[in-house]
Structure formats: C-alpha cells, structure tokens
C-alpha cells in the first residue's frame, strides 16, 4: 500500500531524467524486501542521491575553478599567444622546447627546488626543535603563553607578513637593521645580496610556519603516552636521546604528514617572494611561478610561454608528490 502513493509521486515527476532513473532503481529485486522493511522508496532514493547532493556543488566549483583553467592553460601553452597581439596560432610543443634552452627558466627550476628544500627543512627543524624545547623546559602555563604567541604569525596573511619583514630589514628604516647599524656601524641590506635574499625570504616563511608547527609538535608530544618515555629513562636514555629514539619515531607518521603539508604550502609562496624580492636581486630568488608571472604579465606578455611553464610545474609537482606519497604509504 505504501508504495502506491510514492510511485504516483515519481510518475508525476518523470519529466526529469534523474527522478525517472530513481523509479527504475526502485524496481530492483530488493524492492519488495525494502517495502516490507517499511523503508519507503523516497527514503531509499534519498539515500542514493545523497552523495550527489553533497559532492555536486563542490565538484562544480572545483571544475569551474580548477579543471577549466587547467585545460585552458594547456591549450594556450600549445599556441603562440601574446598580450600584444589579438590572434594566435598553434605552435604545439615549440614553447616547451624553447623553455629547455632558456637559462632563466632552468635557473627558476633550480631556485624553486632550493626554495622547497630550504623552506621545508628549516620549518620542520624549527618546529621539532622548538616543540621539544617547550615540552622539556616550559611549565604548562608557559606552554600556553608560548603556543598563543607562536600561532599569531601564521594567522597573518602572507602578504602582510612579507611587508612586515620587508620593512623590518629595510636598510634605512628597518627595525632590525637599526640595532645592527648601531652596534657594528655597517648597514646590511639582506634582500640585496643573492644568498641572503633567499634565506631572508625563507626566514619569514619559517617565522610563520615553523612556529606554528612547533605548537603542533608540542601538542603531539603531549598526546603521547608517558610510559614509554619513563621506560626509556629506566633504560638509561637521557635528554635529547629520548626524543631521538623514542618520541620522534613514535610520531613518524604525523611528522611526515606535516612535512608534506609544508611542501605543498611552500609551492604556493608566490605572494611572499613577490612582495619581498620580486625574484631579485637579479634572478636569484626567481621561483618558477615568479618567472612565469613576469614572462606572462610584467616583461613580455608571452601568455603562452608562461602557460607552458605553469603546465611543467603542475606535472613536476604531481609526479613528485604522488611518488613521495606512494613511497610513504607502503
């Protein structure tokens, strides 16, 4: 009896394909059982369409924001489009071939790799080091205070953080430069020399993320059961060795996850580099995304050339992360 009205309901709506297919599904061999169990057809249909309801909007947004631009970028990268000319032709892989004889592109690849390694490793070292230091030395009260302070930098939008530190190390007005000048009589301009520029930008990155990771590491350490640490003390393991041999191996998986999170995050540090150095001095801090941006919009307007760089970056990062992820997963 209960099936009759619901069937009427679906019939009345069968203009719509989705609803029509619902009716089809209602006639599976299980249907009598389901109606016997008093699971109305509507309930079952709702259960089937629920994943679509939840995933649909997100997928649509993702397709609009990510998939379409990606396909568009791949398409453009196969042409010779520039900002100055209205028309363009397909040149297929000419852009990609040109890239590998472009010394500035190879430099950008190298800088990106350096940036990735330096920012990720410094962040992890700082996070783990500070986390352990707080765990060992700070009272619960101090831990709370420090955790609060350490979270503040990461709450700043990265552009703000970049400006704060750019001004702080400014050779004339910088709040960091001033005491150095007062003490040594010299005026350092850290962003003006190739080596120190990259490390200064990395410092700001670590200031934001390393301190935040220190809080996470501290919380991870606090969540560990205390007995293995006590057992280690009885086994004559003292001081930092407890962490080297016991706690950090116990935290291996969460620490690997943190490293991956930071690696992905470091890939997206265009805004930091853009504000602080614009890739300078020279091209010494010009990462791949920075170079693509200047090729596309600042210097030449070679949109296609820039797009081919973006595609290469996409392919490299997908390859790198999926191999790392697989390696760790097994």
């Amino acid at each position: 009896m209960s099936m009759v009205p619901s069937r009427n309901w679906t019939n009345s709506q069968d203009r719509c394909d989705l609803k029509g297919s619902r009716r089809d599904r209602g006639e599976t061999p299980l249907a009598p059982v389901i109606s016997y169990l008093n699971l109305g057809q509507n309930v079952m249909n709702r259960g089937r369409s629920l994943p679509v309801v939840f995933l649909g909007p997100a997928l649509v947004v993702l397709i609009v924001l990510a998939l379409i631009p990606t396909i568009y970028a791949i398409n453009i990268s196969l042409q010779n489009r520039t900002l100055s000319a209205p028309d363009s032709d397909y040149v297929w892989f000419a852009n990609y071939i040109a890239l590998f004889s472009d010394a500035r592109f190879l430099n950008a690849l190298w800088v990106s790799l350096k940036w990735e390694v330096i920012s990720v490793s410094l962040t992890m070292i700082t996070g783990i080091g500070l986390g352990i230091a707080m765990f060992e030395a700070a009272s619960p009260r101090w831990r709370n205070i420090l955790c609060f302070l350490f979270i503040i930098p990461v709450l700043l939008p990265r552009v703000c953080a970049a400006f704060v530190w750019k001004f702080a190390v400014h050779p004339l007005y910088g709040s960091v430069t001033w005491p150095v000048r007062a003490l040594t009589g010299q005026t350092p301009d850290v962003l003006a020399s190739p080596n120190s520029a990259l490390f200064t930008v990395a410092f700001v990155d670590v200031w934001q993320w390393g301190l935040f990771f220190a809080v996470i590491v501290l919380k991870l350490l606090e969540s560990l059961p205390p007995q293995p640490i006590e057992a280690a003390r009885i086994d004559r393991i003292k001081g930092w060795r407890v962490h080297r041999y016991i706690t950090l191996p116990m935290l291996k998986l969460p620490l690997i996850s943190l490293t991956l999170v930071k690696a992905i995050e470091s890939l997206r540090s265009f805004d930091l580099v853009y504000v602080m150095t614009r890739g300078g001095p020279g091209i010494s801090t010009e990462t791949l995304d920075m170079y693509a941006y200047s090729q596309g919009f600042i210097e030449a307007g070679r949109i296609s050339y820039a797009s081919s760089m973006a595609v290469i970056m996409l392919v490299i990062s997908i390859l790198m992360f999926s191999t790392i992820w697989k390696r760790i997963g097994t």
Partner: protein, 352 residues
C-alpha cells in the same frame, strides 16, 4: 642483588601531602608486595623508588647507597608497567635489547644475553613482531624480558597483571613467581589484587591512605590482621563484623550474645570472624545463635549463605551439599579461637 630502604620518605604535591613519613626496609632477595586500594599511595612509592617521581623528603637507599638524586637509569632497577610501556615502533627484539644497544654493548654480548631471557619467557617466535601484533599477555612478557635482560638489582612491578584477563593473569602470576625463584632478585610488586599479593609475596605491605596499615607474611596478615582495615581488606569472601559491647565476660548487642574469648573492660568492640569460621549447628547446642537465611550463593565447592541474626547480618561459608531454603531458621556457632577483636573507635586489634 640489593636491599632497599625507605627512611621517613615523604611526598607532597604542592601543599598536598600524599605520603608522610614512610619507612620500610626490604631485605636482599625479598619479594615484597605493596597491597592497598586505589589511591593509597602504593604506586607513588614505587615510582619514587624507580626515580620517576621526585622524593620530597627522607632518604631512599638501594644497596646501602642514597639514590634520591640519581637518574632512574643509574639506580640499578628495572620496571614493569601496568600498560606494558613497550616502544611501539620497535620490534620485540629491539624492545628487549634497546638499553644494551644504547649502552654500547657488542652485538655478540647482546645475543648471548638475549638468548636465555627469550628462552625463559618463550618469546622466540615473536622476536620480529611489533608490540601491536601481540596479545596483552605476550606484551607483558616482552616487558618482563626487557626488565630481565638488564639483570637489575631490584625489580619493580607496577600492577603488571591488571590489564590482563583473569586466566592470563593466573598464568603470568605463576610465571613471575617462578622467575623470582630462579633469579632471586629483590622485588617490589604493587597491586590491588589480594590474590596476587598472597600468592607472590614473601612479605605484604598493606597500605591505606599513604600509611602502612600492616606488614607481614601473607599468613600473618590473614590470621592476625592488625586493624579493622586489614581485616576487611584481606580475605575473599570478606570478614564478617559485629558491632558489640563487652560487658561481664560477654559480647552482646542485646539480641545476640557470645562469650568473650578473654576478659575485657566494658567498652564497644567490633568482632570479626571469617565466613569459614562460622558453622551451622543443631538447635540446643550451647552458644548457638538463631539466624534467618536471606540468600544462598552457590560458589562451586562452597555455598555462601547470607544470614540475619537480630540487627546483625553476616555470611557463612558451608559445603555446597548443605541446602538451606530462603527464610529458613538456622543456628550458627562462632569458633571462639577464630574471633578477631578490634577497638570500634580506633580500629586497632585487641589481644588478650
């Protein structure tokens, strides 16, 4: 092998003193069990001996040496924890040999020391597994192996069997007793399980609220409990208590009356008697007390009867073959030589 001595050891957390003036001397080779209810301070004392808790005051001597300020690793102790405390990322073999490896022992030496330990505890097949792949009993065996391989002067056990199910607990208890017989190391064992205490201990230290309630062999504590607490804590089923008044050679509450085993001044006393020391008798026996049967629990070999006599209710253990209907009137007699008398107010034992 070593003696352990606590001299007026104190422990306080801020203002709050949990252990005050704890003194105890443990002989070489002795197996001492700290027994007491949760929160009585027994684990705290064990952890102070281990060096995992700071000692607020007093002296702790191991092997005649003051060790208050020594690191746990330098005290010559090994400890087995309630939740095993194995290193989860290491294999069983690595767990057992970790301390030796870090101490820089040669591979050859480690292998030679590992073999007998693994043999004794039957861990050969598990050596390459991770702790998470083992059952609780096996994990605790690994923890005992990890303690044994260090050949410590003092073994500390912190409720090692509490996380195991009843059957395994029995197995491992026998194993610990056997190990102690072989190794003869001084051992301190903390538990709240009186069966473990009675079966393992050379000497039981019965604790309550941070103090030693009674100290002695299991037999001593069972047959001559020094306080009401000791009398009530030891023994399953628990001792019966009657609140009576001594007057004129009798102990009475107005309704029941028993002969005092020795002359007493007139005062309130608590009489304790174990359920097994009460027997059912025929009416008319001298000193027989009439009682009504309330409940009958079948325990296998024995039957536990709950009886009421006047205002007093108590338990009697009888052979399982005896059948008593609920509500039936019976007569009981208390074995006069098995009465324990305590001062009702102070709880202290009264002897002749």
């Amino acid at each position: 092998m070593a003696t352990v001595e606590c001299r007026s050891v104190r422990k306080s957390y801020g203002e709050h003193e949990v252990i005050s003036d704890f003194s105890l001397s443990i002989e070489d080779h002795e197996f001492v069990v700290f027994l007491g209810p949760s929160g009585c301070g027994k684990s705290t004392i064990l952890r102070m001996v281990a060096g995992l808790e700071d000692i607020t005051g007093g002296d702790l001597m191991i092997g005649g040496r003051r060790v208050n300020d020594l690191d746990p690793g330098d005290r010559g102790i090994a400890m087995v924890f309630q939740n095993y405390a194995l290193y989860p990322h290491m294999s069983v073999r690595e767990n057992i040999t970790f301390a030796l490896e870090r101490a820089g022992e040669t591979k050859d030496m480690i292998a030679r020391r590992l073999a007998p330990v693994v043999e004794t505890l039957g861990l050969q097949v598990y050596l390459n597994r991770k702790p998470t792949e083992l059952s609780g009993g096996q994990q605790q065996r690994v923890a005992i192996a990890r303690a044994m391989i260090k050949t410590p002067e003092v073994f500390l056990f912190d409720e090692p069997l509490s996380n195991l199910d009843a059957k395994l607990r029995g197995h491992l208890r026998v194993e610990i007793a056997r190990l102690h017989k072989e190794l003869r190391s001084t051992s301190i064992y903390v538990t709240h399980d009186q069966l473990e205490a009675m079966t393992l201990a050379d000497r039981i230290v019965l604790m309550n609220a941070g103090r030693i309630e009674q100290m002695g062999t299991p037999e001593e504590i069972y047959s001559r409990p020094a306080t009401l607490f000791a009398a009530g804590f030891i023994g399953t089923p628990g001792m019966n208590f009657f609140n009576l008044v001594a007057s004129g050679g009798k102990l009475t509450d107005g309704e029941i009356s028993i002969d005092a085993p020795f002359p007493l001044s007139e005062r309130p006393v608590t009489v304790g008697i174990r359920p097994g020391a009460i027997s059912l008798v025929r009416d008319g026996m001298p000193g027989a007390i009439p009682a009504i049967a309330d409940r009958d629990e079948f325990h296998g070999e024995t039957r536990l009867l709950s009886l009421t006599a006047g205002r007093q209710s108590f338990m009697v253990a009888v052979p399982a073959s005896v059948r008593v209907a609920e509500g039936e009137q019976v007569f009981v007699s208390l074995a006069p030589d098995q009465l324990h008398l305590f001062d009702t107010e102070s709880g202290a034992r009264i002897d002749a």
